[in-house]
Symmetry: C2
Subunit: 332 residues, 2 copies
Amino acid sequence: MEKQNICVVGNGGWGTALISLLADLGHNTILWGIDPDYMADMRRTRRSPVFLPGIEIPENLALSSSLEECLPGRDMIILAVPTQFMRSVLEKMRDSLPADAPIVNVAKGIEMKTGMRCSEVIGDTLGPRDVASLSGPSHAEEVARRLPTTVVAASGNEALARRVQMTFMSERFRVYTSRDIIGVELGGALKNVIAVAAGACDGLKFGDNAKAALLTRGITEIARLGVAMGAKAATFFGLSGIGDLITTSYSPFGRNRRVGEQIGQGMTLDAILASSEQVAEGVWTSRAALAWAEKLNVDMPITREIVRVLFERRSPMQAVSELMLRNPKAEA
Amino acid sequence: MEKQNICVVGNGGWGTALISLLADLGHNTILWGIDPDYMADMRRTRRSPVFLPGIEIPENLALSSSLEECLPGRDMIILAVPTQFMRSVLEKMRDSLPADAPIVNVAKGIEMKTGMRCSEVIGDTLGPRDVASLSGPSHAEEVARRLPTTVVAASGNEALARRVQMTFMSERFRVYTSRDIIGVELGGALKNVIAVAAGACDGLKFGDNAKAALLTRGITEIARLGVAMGAKAATFFGLSGIGDLITTSYSPFGRNRRVGEQIGQGMTLDAILASSEQVAEGVWTSRAALAWAEKLNVDMPITREIVRVLFERRSPMQAVSELMLRNPKAEA
């Protein structure tokens, strides 16, 4: 594939790992971060100690804190900023963006104040533009260490999905295409709710049977909601759904799993929030998901119990009994 | 539900755990095992040190090594013997079986010499009879310790599936029904092949991204084969498919995962087989699966690479490169 001019906006671990892959592949690359001092240090040391400790940054990657320097003339812009900050960054980007450069979102989440998916926030801020979302089981640290990773590039514009696929594809990073950007984005956001439940399972020392059943029934109820919101069911059983959920639920480092584990061990949400710096998105997404489920008349028993445990002081043990003793059902 | 007379045939860990659950629920229960001395010891000590170390056997469970004592007059027979021995046990059972008692198979596997699924072996041996299969993520030790477990009861006879569901259902053991016994049985057998690959991933220290992608793409190719063999795709994304695969691939104790791990660490299959007592079924199932895939013209790239690594001395690293660099594809 022809080499492209690509900017990644957002120098967190995931953005830095992705632009490093693209630099390896010979694309002309630049990484934007908001903090001029941090970017200058990165330029000098070829390291990012806060976001990717121990990883070397490719020599041929340019680094900048100026959107005016980063954006004009690029063939593709990759948006790697946390969902809740995405709108304000997009507003700053607007004036420097090339008119025809597609935006590839790599964040996973729902904008809390609007309930919008990432590509909806992009459309809402920038107007009509080609947008794709890249998602799947993808811890940044592992990608940065060039461990094999497989993801999906989704866009309503099939040609753009294929272009993203060919831009990233390598022996260490395999990309599938999908046309179901709704399903890919919903899976990436909603899986965090089930990861909280999986963590609670760990905290209660419930073992492998319970955890695997929770993941399986969890993605099934997410798929039900997703279909009611316009997604395809199969997407949730792919890389951006169950695949990402598995990684998130088994990695000892995930914030959502960790919050759930503390809940399972008997801590209250208030105590957990008081003691942690970073927010676990699944905590807040659980309420958004339940609100959608009620509005669309979709049954989400696991999500409902998670909301009760997090916000209504139901004990995790009682929630489990509730789930196990519900009416007997057929599986599908 | 009315209490029933139930016999479990096979005193391995899984059979013993299941009959113990049924005894807890007040059913009239008896467990058959082939070794009279071992069964007498179990009767005396209420322990099964070989198959369920550290677990107490319910007082109200009868134990016997006589099929003539165990089978007549029972309302339901649960078959919990390893797949490769199932046919010979069924032949011994034939003369003592009540004419109308359904058989509930709980083994997972393919009979190697015939390529038959368990319920097919039952039909082939006993003739027409109501048959169900119970499957899902269910380590026996966890069930025996009364940790929460969720499984699926499948039968072409929907009333039987519901009867099995109601027979087992409790606060610690939730049962869904399914009519797709082909899919449930194929998932339980074929997941072992992917568990070998997941173990290789562990042995190569490839991390969480690669392993989750492998499980996701693995169950996708199993579903493709299953559909070609008459199963429903959705079944493979349920408890007996991806659910069981997750447990099998993440438990440190599974034999299939462990063989794969040793392969990933550089051991040859011959060396592994020479050093282990028990056979990992996934090793042999991989060849059966590939033979079916070729006959039915189904693409199973992961299974193909596993067969090459196990039997054709391809290096695991080369297999990974092969998988990552295949033609770019759409996800579904």
